[in-house]
């Protein structure tokens, strides 16, 4: 008889902070987001992700959520289900962002908003007009952060096609800083391979135990 080793490994914990990026590039089949690691900071590489921009500060980071809805099938003869199947999957990245005084960001997170601007130095403005649209603009996002065991390496939680279903809602008060919830819901890209249609959660580095 021999014992099986326990696995208490603090390096397998994720400790933030991380950064959330919007409008990152979609990788090809079998590929992953290209990340730049200049000066130990992990960001979307700019040639590969020319449209990427940063969500800015958050109140307490991002929450990554994967929730499958599983249907069990039973029979009159058995007391337990004899078959289970995934019926649907909900994959979201949510949190509270602080920088609400950023009009392009507000436009991005408002499903039905339209950004406008005027660059005149004396009469210029930025605006977000709302109301009347029914089409939903979608884009790709990614959370990138350093690994605990080796901060020169990183992890990525990417959703290929998403929108912010939380809209925005923030207080304007002298007692607290502005913040608004965000919740990006992953949608399937039907023409990508089955199993890789919604997103990719990955880390740099081989599996533990690789010689």
């Amino acid at each position: 008889m021999a014992a099986t080793a326990r696995d208490y490994d603090a390096n397998e914990i994720i400790l933030g902070p991380s950064d959330l990026w919007l409008s990152v590039a979609v990788p090809g089949a079998g590929a992953r987001l290209t990340v730049d690691t200049t000066a130990g900071v992990h960001t979307p590489e700019s040639v590969a992700n020319p449209s990427a921009f940063h969500l800015g500060m958050t109140e307490s980071g991002s929450t990554v959520s994967y929730k499958p809805e599983i249907q069990n099938f039973g029979s009159d003869e058995l007391t337990a289900p004899h078959l289970s199947r995934i019926i649907s999957e909900s994959i979201t990245i949510k949190g509270n962002l602080l920088q609400v005084f950023d009009w392009p960001l507000l436009a991005k997170i408002s499903a039905g908003g339209t950004y406008g601007s005027n660059t005149n130095t004396s009469t210029g403005y930025e605006e977000l007009t709302m109301g009347g649209l029914s089409a939903l603009a979608t884009f790709s996002i990614a959370v990138i952060g350093p690994q605990l065991a080796d901060p020169t390496k990183f992890y990525v939680f990417q959703l290929y096609k998403t929108y912010n279903k939380a809209g925005f809602e923030f207080n304007i008060t002298r007692k607290d800083q502005s913040k608004t919830p965000y919740e990006f819901e992953g949608l399937a890209i039907t023409t990508r391979a089955i199993g890789d249609q919604v997103g990719n959660f990955w880390k740099l580095g081989p599996p533990p135990g690789t010689p």
Partner: protein, 69 residues
């Protein structure tokens, strides 16, 4: 190479490529098929796996003298 045309220089954005070339790249290189997506879903395509091919295809051609040397 999985497509029968020269790969363009980055950036591979919809704005830089135009609809036709964007769709050819997205389908030909296996990103996804934009034609079955809404017309405003045109994310950047990450060209990184093809950078060596792009560099080779767009390298300046050697002059006759350079070839002779």
């Amino acid at each position: 190479m999985p497509v029968d045309f020269p790969l363009p220089l980055p950036p591979w954005t919809h704005k830089a490529l135009g609809e036709e070339l964007y769709c050819k790249l997205a389908v030909g290189l296996g990103y996804f098929n934009p034609k079955v997506e809404r017309a405003d879903y045109r994310p950047d395509l990450d060209p990184t796996p093809y950078l060596d091919q792009i560099k080779a295809q767009h390298a300046p051609k050697k002059t006759k003298q350079e070839v002779a040397n």
